[in-house]
Symmetry: C2
Subunit: 389 residues, 2 copies
């Protein structure tokens, strides 16, 4: 990856003595695209980011964990601006070229004294190979850092895409996810980058669910600095770039779900044969969000009745008498008929896997869509009953 | 209560040796009203019930727990019809005067040999004072029977309303709840009874949430046999009947939420000052369904940020800078400003109560609405991971 540096350090923003402050820096101003949360309540960095992304250019992104800088009023926006300004000063670049992202507890003011004190160190110790440190510094309840890289080749040259994400709870993104940062040394316009990012998010972060809650801080930022000299020469090249970007974001999405708070299993619900694509999505989303489905998965119980019931309340058209439902390769329902106890015993074996595919075929039309979700364990309750204490 | 008999017995439908078969019988054919689930997948008794309620008259309701008779195809509908026919035969009444309701596991056939064997005993030992036995026989994961009674007086005379409900999980009713049965000895038309029942449900069962899942078997049936000789003489009388019916259903709703699977607390979210009544309901519903809010309540954490975030993703209009939020009498947010650590310490004390009121005032308009919900504990996960095993 040409021309990008990363860093992650301890700034004392979190109570625990762990890394909580990170930066991505491009040697040249980069083409930029971003997606933000659709929540009506948005964090200060999102307010600032929505303004700054309009220029389509960005050179550095500063991220803190441990404090969401959300519901912090005008002071919160000033703090975000000040964080960007101090970083820009240390980097000797214009303040408008710096974007900010935050994640953590809602409602507490950002400890600006610690932020200010940490910025020189953050900038001074950046390195091209410190992406791991960055990916670690942005985590909250996550148990693992999430990085995905693809080496890509188009007619116009070779380039690299690296994506980083954090997210473990409050995950049911709407047009964006918790926090994710994608950098590439491809030469690409901000308009095309924005369009590709939107499509890739719709096929990744917008198809995952941990707990059905949408964060106030969800942000995805993509930076392309063109330093590989690779360009997209024709529509085939664009398609190849989209394919690589999709892969990176989908891999990150799977990492987020697999690391869902208290999760022990990753499940894909695939809906086929819905009357419309919208109906397919409605059903996939409703199944992925059902606490009863998620607890049954945790209990390794092929409780197909809960999946049928969730589909039935989704609002989508459905004829119970025609549906097929299978867990892996095991059909539990065929043409609306339960396949008996022996099939349940087989399906129970499928449920013991760490990754499970459930396929519901409505046989009504061509609509198909999917969702990734995790199971729901006592551990999720423990984590979220105790999060602030 | 004049002219009603009840019963509950053990029929061997449940694996455990407990009561699982119940009946309500009116000495005279009663005016009847009913509401059913809006789930697209509906149980056989709901298919039968929707047909039979059209006549507006009913004399007996037979209910089993332990088996939902749902997703059981044509045989399921035949089994429901057969259950009604056998009961009618034992009661010496027309089969069309019997309605059926079922609750329990989805997908397994109803054990008709046991049902058939139990009916004579169920009918022979009915008594006016066995409403407790009936209320117990219809339970599944519930820990307590749920009965509410009001003695009412209108210009046209005195009468009684008794309501019974079951429900503990899969609770986010849509136009109806799990199972509830209301009987009165008032003389009232089926059209007015249906209208009053609909209104009362909208103010009770349609404002509660345990886990956000909607059952395939949700049914509320009201029977009025007129044997008190009381009638509604004018609109004041109708209003008084509505008030009494509302009270009975609201009390039952509170019992259902309090007995929510794994629940330790009952919470009311009251939304004030929304732009529209629809917006108020959207916010109340979204807060009540948020797993993050529910786990915070379980942890006795006044985590107001999660309430604000849930309101923000509800789709309702909202200006974060103007809102007030209080837990009981303790304001945590005033005019969009956090009230500080001292306020949080006070709010944490409020959270220790068994019943908690949370009030969110948006100051945008006149829209107001509310929802009742319970907290979310490890116990919910345990119950639902193990339900079928």
């Amino acid at each position: 990856m040409k021309g990008f540096k990363f860093n992650g350090i301890k700034a004392g923003i979190k109570k625990k003595d762990v890394m909580d402050f990170g930066i991505i820096f491009s040697e040249k101003p980069a083409t930029a695209a971003a997606l933000f949360t659709q929540n009506k309540v948005v964090a200060a960095p999102v307010i600032l980011g929505r303004e700054r992304i309009k220029a389509g250019v960005c050179q550095a992104v500063v991220v803190n964990s441990g404090n969401a800088n959300c519901f912090t009023g005008k002071k919160g926006v000033k703090d975000a601006e000040q964080t960007a300004a101090l970083t820009a000063h240390a980097l000797h670049i214009a303040p408008e070229l710096v974007m900010v992202a935050s994640t953590g507890v809602i409602g507490a003011p950002l400890p600006m004294d610690r932020v200010e004190k940490a910025i020189p160190d953050l900038v001074d110790t950046m390195e091209p190979d410190r992406v791991d440190a960055f990916a670690t510094a942005i985590l909250t309840t996550d148990t693992t850092a999430k990085i995905s890289t693809r080496e890509c080749r188009v007619k116009g040259g070779r380039f690299t895409i690296t994506g980083v994400a954090k997210g473990s709870g409050m995950i049911k993104p709407n047009m964006a996810t918790m926090l994710s940062f994608v950098v590439t040394d491809l030469d690409i316009s901000s308009i095309l980058l924005q369009s590709c990012l939107k499509k890739a998010c719709d096929r990744s972060f917008n198809r995952i669910c941990v707990d059905g809650d949408t964060s106030t801080n969800d942000t995805v930022i993509a930076l392309a600095n063109g330093m590989s000299k690779a360009v997209l020469e024709d529509s085939d090249d664009s398609i190849e770039f989209q394919r690589c970007l999709d892969e990176v974001l989908l891999e990150l999405s799977r990492m987020v779900v697999r690391d869902g708070e208290g999760a022990t299993k990753l499940v894909k619900i695939q809906v086929e044969g819905a009357a419309t694509p919208e109906d397919a999505l409605k059903i996939a989303e409703t199944v992925a969000q059902s606490n009863l489905v998620k607890t049954a998965v945790y209990g390794e119980d092929p409780n197909w009745g809960r999946i049928i019931a969730a589909a039935g309340r989704s609002g989508a058209a459905m004829e119970p008498d025609t549906v097929d439902l299978r867990f892996g390769d095991v059909f539990l329902v065929k043409d609306g008929t339960w396949q008996g106890t022996a099939a349940e015993v087989e399906a129970a074996k499928v449920m013991q896997d760490k990754e499970i595919e459930i396929v519901l075929d409505l046989k009504m039309g061509q609509g198909r869509d999917w969702y990734l979700f995790c199971d729901f364990s006592e551990e999720y309750v423990k984590i979220n009953a105790d999060y602030r204490s």
